[in-house]
């Protein structure tokens, strides 16, 4: 074999390596759909649950026969990572579904601060976004997210099970402790999954701070973002964590709660082994999975000894954004216009509540959560605290702190001090 042949062979092998390596990095340089007739949407997989997006796509395609909509679905637990990957490569979709506010590394506000999202400009629905939701969907440069649905946190319960146990729905935090101390007739009073992946401790924390820190000062979140206040110095936050500790000590939760998952805790309630569970309206399918013997209901969680101070956490939770790297922003905007126009119809698919209200007199929560409605109508609502935390580690510190309180390994003040110590403001590192 001549040297030249060997050299050519080596170069060919090297070229193959480079080609393989480049192939691994993506390489669709079109970015989303270069064809204006195709709209690419990135969303998470709801695991077989009805998805309003399907109905929206079918309607949009019917109205626009020349347009083809393709959905890239990723498992819910993998979605945040997948979306970041798509946005950092040349695979950005034209439209992406994501969580609103801060909270997670791929939440809308986090992405907008990094300059990765396009402005919706003068879309017709922008003026209808409720004022309290605007911090999750827009900034000084424009509107970067279309809020899809709104969610609330309250107590899930089965009326028959509660009645059988001789327990009444608590109206104040004193009632909560009294119910826990009474023992719940041999059942767990509050089903709580507090393992590492469960969101339930944070849902309870949101309910407690809604009626303490946010009842005292509805602007607490904005002030914390501006570094004008701290968690440790907030009487409301101190009270909320102390109340959590009192609930733990009063035997409100399963003795093994720290090792229980959200799914297991949801089953405890729906199978009648627990009396109540504090959770988000959008987690209803987890409770329904246990095939409850009667219709589930939701009531406000009283996080204050004064019933007048009780607030319900209620905020838009997810929405759609247009990545700047996407290929067809005009088509994406057209789709969102169509979605906004028919949002009431699509919300019926999963019994959700549109984040942009349909109009006067429309329900603001699903039917099973009608007991929350008076609070929402009276404006006795609060945001989800973690949606106003720019650093995702903050959420981890809060969740771990709650578990440590349950284990008796730390005190509320120490948890708050740690949350302050790792705080980083918007755009900081």
């Amino acid at each position: 074999m001549s040297r030249a042949v060997k050299l050519v062979g080596c170069l060919a092998a090297l070229a193959a390596c480079v080609a393989v390596a480049v192939g691994c990095g993506g390489g669709d340089d079109g970015g989303g759909s270069s064809d204006s007739g195709t709209l690419t949407i990135s969303s998470y997989d709801l695991g077989g649950a009805p998805d309003p997006l399907d109905k929206a796509i079918a309607g949009f395609e019917k109205e626009n026969p020349d347009v083809k909509v393709e959905v890239k679905r990723t498992a819910f637990t993998q979605y945040a990572q997948a979306l970041r990957q798509q946005l950092s490569t040349n695979q950005a979709p034209d439209l992406a579904r994501t969580a609103l506010g801060y909270g997670e590394a791929s939440s809308a506000t986090v992405l907008a601060e990094k300059g990765l999202l396009a402005d919706f400009g003068d879309a017709s629905w922008i003026g209808e976004i409720p004022d309290q939701s605007k911090s999750s969907t827009s900034d000084e440069s424009g509107t970067f997210a279309f809020p899809v649905d709104s969610s609330a946190i309250g107590i899930f319960y089965l009326p028959g099970v509660l009645k059988e146990a001789g327990v009444e729905l608590p109206k104040t935090f004193a009632d909560v402790l009294a119910a826990c101390e009474a023992g719940g007739g041999g059942k767990v009073v509050f089903a709580l999954g507090a393992n590492e992946t469960s969101g339930m401790p944070l849902f309870l924390l949101d309910s407690l701070v809604a009626s303490t820190a946010y009842a005292e000062d509805p602007e607490f979140g904005e002030k914390r973002l501006a570094d004008e206040v701290t968690f440790a110095d907030s009487k409301g936050w101190q009270e909320a964590l102390t109340q959590f500790e009192e609930m733990s000590e009063a035997g409100c939760f399963d003795k093994n709660a720290v090792g229980i998952s959200q799914e297991q805790a949801s089953l405890e309630l729906s199978q009648g082994k627990a009396l109540m569970a504090v959770s988000l309206t959008v987690t209803l399918p987890l409770f329904q999975a246990g095939k409850p013997s009667e219709e589930l209901k939701m009531a406000p969680f009283p996080g204050n000894v004064d019933a007048a101070q009780v607030r319900v956490p209620n905020a838009p939770v997810d929405g759609y954004v247009i990545p700047k790297r996407g290929g067809d922003p005009e088509l994406a905007e057209a789709f969102i216009e169509y979605y906004a126009e028919h949002r009431g119809e699509f919300a019926q698919v999963d019994e959700s509540i549109p984040a942009i209200p349909l109009g006067e007199g429309e329900a603001s929560v699903p039917k099973y959560a009608a007991e929350l409605e008076p609070f929402i109508e009276a404006g006795k609502v609060a945001p989800f605290a973690q949606n106003e935390w720019p650093n995702p580690e903050e959420q981890v510190a809060a969740a771990q702190g709650l578990v440590e309180i349950m284990l008796g390994a730390t005190e509320p003040d120490d948890v708050l001090a740690k949350m302050d110590s790792i705080w980083t403001g918007p755009g900081e590192e």
Partner: protein, 308 residues
Amino acid sequence: MAAGTAPARRAGWVRQRTHPSRRVPWLFAVPAVLICFGLFILPALLGAGYAFTNWDGLTSPRWLGFGNFTEFFGDSESIDVLLHTLEISAAYVVGVNLVGLGLALALERTLKTRGLLRALFFLPAVVSPLVVAFIWKFMLDANGAINEALGAVGLGSLEKPWLGEPTLALISIVVVMIWQFAGYHMLIYSAGLQSLQAELREAAAVDGASPWRRFRDITLPLLKPAMTISVALSTITSLMVFDQVIALTGGGPAGSTETLGTYVYKQAFVNGRYGYSAAVALLLVIGVCAVAFVQFRVARRGTAEAGR
């Protein structure tokens, strides 16, 4: 002068004629080497480069120098993570080697079912660690099979939150790892035992040495090469533990079972701190290499001394 250089040239020519033939095997390896370089070495080097930046996976990285490393060593949480990893590693290395050696010794004697038992003990090692861990999670859960079984036989007082209490959760992870890989280490020790000269042990038995003495003074020193491999492999496995922790506890409760492997994952994919995550991963790789290197050096010295 030309005449003087001619023999040298000829010698050079001769060398050139012999060298190409020696190079042929290396040339065959070139494609594989290039593929390995492109797919493993190059990405690893690029990853190591990100360890010195604040890369968030979305925007352009900014050079931080050793900032990520100083943050790691200055943060009590990351030091806790390091300690959990070392605790798991120490318990696992001791446990899996003791159980593996015990099984190998137990199955050294002639048994009709020896082959079957070896296969059964080895079987868990060929199953994905993630699958094994999920099965164990089902059993160790608060309302899982183990607690249910304890309650059913009247031992309800022994029911524990196996994955919900920090110390128990750490122990549970180690037990699951030992259960899965003891059979693998049994095979390493079995191979070591089969290579021993039977005469030595027989002679000691004839001389009246007790079974313990024979094991301590003959079998164990001669097993050092097998032990070296087994200890090194178990150390590397345990320092890089990820699947079992993610599946069993997710690093909880309250981060009490977080290891370097899960910490790297969470920093990158949950917190979006790819640069910091790469720095911790780099530290992990350096640590694993250093431990493996030291173990092999110590063991080589020991083997040489045993040989003398």
